[in-house]
Each structure stands twice: as C-alpha cells, then as structure tokens.
C-alpha cells in the first residue's frame, strides 16, 4: 500500500493535502469537517491579539480566473479561539494556527498564548494595514518575527510568504535564518476589480488579494525557486484545484500543498486530490519523495 504520509516542518501529515489559511477556518467545526473530509492537516483563519470585524463588503469578487478577496483579517482574537482549536483537533489531523501581528512582540505573545500543533505566521496578507505583507516584504522583519515566535512557541513555526515582492527567495532565506521549520508559499497576489458601471472599486477595501487558478503558475515558480535555495521544507499553496496541480506543485519542490479557493467546489476536494495523487504515483510506480523537486533535477 502506497503511503502518502509526509514528515515536514515538524509535523506528520497522513497526506500532503492541507486546508489553507483563511478558508473555512473560522470555527472548530468547519476545520474538523475538513479533517474528516480527508485533509492531511488544517490551518485556522488568521488570529490576532484583539477582535476584528474585517473590511466592509463586498469582501469577495469572483473573477474569470480566480477569486479576489479582502476579508480584512476578521477574527475573535486568539484568546477566544483556543476552544475552536480544541474542537478542530478532534478531527484527528494537525491543526496549524495562523497568526498575525504588527510586531515581533505581538506575534510572540499570541504564540505563547495558544496551544496548537504548529504556527503559521501570516507575514503576507496583502490587504490589512499594519499587518501581513506590510511586515512580510522586509527580510529583516521576517527574520525578527520568526525568531521571536520560535523563542516563544513550543510548536513548529511555519512562515507564509508574500509573492508581492521582487525576490521571494530573500524572504524565505530570512525566515530560515529566523529558525523557521518550513515556509509556505504563496499568499494572494495584490489585485483589484472595478465596477465599470460606476467606477467604484468593487471590494469594500478597494483592493485585495487574488487566489485560484490564475496564480498557480506564480506559486509553482515561487515554490521551485524556494525549494532550490532553502534547506527547510516548502509548503506549496496557490491555485491548487486538482491532483494534477498537486503533482505539479510537489514536482516544483513542495513537501505538502494547501488548498483554498478550490473549496468552492466543496469539501470533497481533499479526497479527490489524494485519490488522484495515489493513482498517479501507483501508475508511475513512484513515491512522493521520488517526484518531490523533480523539476529541479532535470
């Protein structure tokens, strides 16, 4: 029997197909549902130190090639979220807490106050003032935040990187220097849509982040570059919608993939991808290790 089990970034995943941050991660129940539906691991909605309602609507625009969103980091604060993480854990897979802050100290404080299987540092949300990519585009801040959380947390630390930068590898190397156990690439691409009837930006926040099939080639390239240069594992995210996309991302060098926008099709996406991945590996008589980073070896 072919094994899809992956040991990456300090976690053991029964399969390499995870639920991405920000998707169906507001409640423990929806996270558990993703686990029961076959996800190898789940990531919570990003948690901050105080409650946030997020941006006014529209928070989402469906465009031809993907989804444009500016949710604005709505969350009830990490203090109120521990009970949701505890519920999510009953799904039987690792629960990764996505956290955000405006300084290394704020990040560290949240990590100290939460019990999760790992932390994913949101240094990449492109549409929230003072947070996300506003810190995450500076390598020195990425290193400092990562180092502070590593010192504070008693769980592995993953760093989610922004593609809205000239060189994502610089950011990945900074995370590695800070002691990260893995990097996650990529968050959404900064983007915008305008209502041509009136000229209004459609998103309540005016601009937001683009996800879905449109950004997959950008994600594949980012994962490829990071995997070639970094010693720590890369988790691939961005437009993964099918098992073929997962294979491509793993061939770029990803140890696991995260699925977000494709959840629009329903929770069945996890089984669909893992089944397709299994059949592919069986047909090729190969393992995940065999195909991981294959593109870099040609």
């Amino acid at each position: 029997m072919l094994s899809l089990t992956v040991h990456a970034g300090g976690l053991t995943l029964r399969n390499p197909v995870m639920l991405a941050a920000g998707i169906l991660g507001t409640t423990g129940a929806s996270l558990r549902r993703a686990a029961l539906a076959g996800a190898g691991g789940v990531v919570t909605k990003s948690l901050g130190s105080v409650p946030r309602e997020g941006h006014p609507g529209p928070t989402i625009v469906q465009v031809d090639c993907g989804l444009l969103n500016a949710m604005g980091l709505p969350n009830p604060s990490y203090k109120k979220f521990q009970e949701e993480i505890d519920i999510a854990k009953t799904g039987g897979v690792p629960v990764v807490a996505s956290i955000f802050g405006s300084s290394a100290e704020e990040f560290a404080g949240i990590a100290r106050g939460l019990d999760a299987d790992a932390f994913e540092l949101n240094l990449s949300c492109p549409h929230a003032e003072k947070y996300g990519s506003e810190l995450g585009r500076y390598p020195d801040l990425v290193e400092a935040v990562t180092g502070a959380v590593k010192a504070a947390a008693n769980a592995p630390v993953w760093v989610k990187l922004t593609p809205n930068t000239a060189d994502i590898v610089e950011l990945g190397l900074a995370a590695q220097r800070g002691g990260a156990d893995a990097v996650v690439a990529i968050n959404t691409l900064k983007a915008m849509a305008i209502d041509i009837e009136t000229g209004y930006p459609i998103l309540g926040n005016r601009f937001g982040g683009l996800s879905g099939p449109a950004i997959k080639p950008v994600a594949v390239r980012s994962v490829y570059d990071l995997a070639l240069r970094l010693d720590i594992p890369v988790i691939g995210v961005g437009g993964v919608t099918s098992w073929e996309d997962a294979v491509e991302m793993i061939m770029a060098g990803a140890w696991a993939v995260q699925v977000g926008t494709a959840l629009k099709k329903g929770y069945g996406i996890f089984e669909e991808i893992t089944l397709g991945l299994t059949r592919y590996l069986e047909r090729k008589s190969m393992t995940l290790e065999d195909i991981r980073g294959m593109a870099g070896r040609h």
Binding site: G22, I23, L24, G25, T26, T27, G28, A29, S30, L31, R32, R33, A34, K45, P51, R52, E53, G54, P56, G57, P58, T59, I60, V61, Q62, V63, L67, N69, M71, P74, N75, P76, S77, K80, I87, A193, D195, E197, T198, Y200, I202, G204, G260, T261, L263, K264, G266
Partner: protein
C-alpha cells in the same frame, strides 16, 4: 460572478422600517434563496426575495439605512441568486412567519397556489403597524395573524397561533422569521421537525462557501451555500436557537 448592475424600479413602504424594492433584473430565484446586495461605498448584505423581482428589507443597520436612502432610478449591485430555497412538498402546506421573515413565505405561497397547492398561513408581528403582506397572505387561503400587543388577531408570539392548527394535516411546514421565534416554533413542534423547512440567517461575507463565517456548529454546515433553508430536524442539535457568530467570528446571542 461580479456584481451586476441593477436599477431600482420602485420602492414601496410596507411598515415603518420595512420597504420593498423592485429590481429591473429577472434573476429567476426560488423562494428562500437570497441575493447579495451591494450598496456602493457602504457594504454588501444578503437579502431574501419577496417575489421574483423584489426584495423586502428591514432597516437594521448601516447598510440597510443606506439602502433606504435610495429611490427609484438608483442603482445597486447584485450577486445571486444564491443558496438552496424552499422545496414544495405535498398538497397542503402551512406557512409560519414572523416580521420581515414573512417576505419569502408570501413568495413561496404564491408559487404554491399557482401549482394548485392548498396554502394556510400563520404570521406574527409586534403590533398592527408592523403587519406586512396581509393582502397577499389573505389571497392565498386561511390566515391567522398574531401580534405581540394583541392589536390584531391573537395576542402573543407566533407560537400562540399554533393552537389553531392540527399540524398533522399539513404535508410540509415552512418557517421564516427572527431566530428566537423560529426556535420557539421548532422546539414546540419537535415531532414534526422532519417536515419543517426553515429559512435561517447567519453572518454572510463571501456567499460562495469559502470564508467560513456562516458555519453552523457542530457540523460546520455552510449556511450560505448549503442553506439558507434547512430541514428543522437538522437544526435541532445545532447551535441554532442558542447562539450565532458575529462579523468577528465570536459567539453572540441569537435574537433577531
């Protein structure tokens, strides 16, 4: 989809804080489905259809207040119709509604009558001035009205009106209104929960089933795409009637 532009054709005042907006778009909604209404520069909020081309709105917050400032000729953005609406079952149905929650039921009742189905209605309001769609419900068949202050019909909550009916006679019961009212009805009629369809509300942000803000405990059911209409027996063991989450995701009371 991107929001489509829609010109408001007509605005009708139904009650002091309730207005009906007729839209220029034929979206072919099922009763119980909703549309995301974008009031440009303010917010985007979900609204139920009160007929194939109208939404009926109660002013409750910033977005609805802004909508009330718009008249005929103004434009709004629309995404939808979304979600699963009511499904007609059997030949003898009961509509149970409260306040502005009666809007999708009037729409459903008219569709049912058109299909030759026998329709009975039980609708409740705070007071006489809050009554909406009385003529529409009267035209459908038997009607019982309740008012909290007793000005019209039976005095008390909607559940008081249940005594007027033998629920075993109905093939299906359709429910929409404030959550406390719906929960009151469902908890008093548990043995009928398998034939009650309830149209519920939660805080919607994306309306596409990805953001998770509307998920119901304990199953994580996404109300925006798997609802907003659910069989009541699916709600009995859920958070419904106990708490609901607000815009920041934290639990709050479920009144309203």
């Amino acid at each position: 989809m991107r929001p489509m532009n829609s010109i408001i054709q007509e605005v009708r005042s139904e009650a002091p804080l309730v207005r009906t907006f007729r839209l220029d778009k034929q979206l072919d909604p099922a009763p119980g489905q909703y549309v995301m209404v974008w009031i440009r520069g303010v917010d985007e909020v979900p609204m139920s259809f009160s007929s194939p081309d109208t939404i009926t709105v109660q002013s409750v917050g910033e977005a609805t207040r802004a909508l009330f400032n718009l008249g005929a000729g103004s434009s709004i953005g629309l995404r939808g119709p979304f979600g699963n609406g009511f499904v007609l079952r059997g030949k003898n149905i009961l509509l149970v509604g409260g306040g502005v929650g009666t809007a999708p039921l009037a729409f459903l009742g008219e569709q049912a009558r058109g299909a030759g189905i026998n329709v009975t209605s039980l609708v409740g309001f705070c007071s006489s001035q809050d009554i909406i769609f009385q003529d529409r419900f009267e035209a459908l068949g038997d009607l019982v009205i309740t008012t909290d202050d007793g000005c019209v019909g039976i005095k008390g909550h909607v559940a008081e009106g249940l005594k007027e009916f033998d629920l075993t006679e109905f093939s299906q019961i359709y429910l929409c209104g404030p959550e406390v009212m719906m929960w009151d009805i469902i908890s008093r009629t548990r043995e009928h929960a398998g034939k009650i369809q309830a149209c519920i509300s939660r805080y919607f942000k994306c309306a596409t089933g990805v953001c998770g803000s509307c998920c119901l405990d304990p199953e994580g059911v996404r109300v925006c795409v798997e609802g907003p209409v659910f069989m009541a027996d699916r709600l009995i063991e859920s958070e419904f009637g106990r708490y609901k989450r607000g815009p920041d995701g934290s639990k709050g009371q479920c009144r309203g």
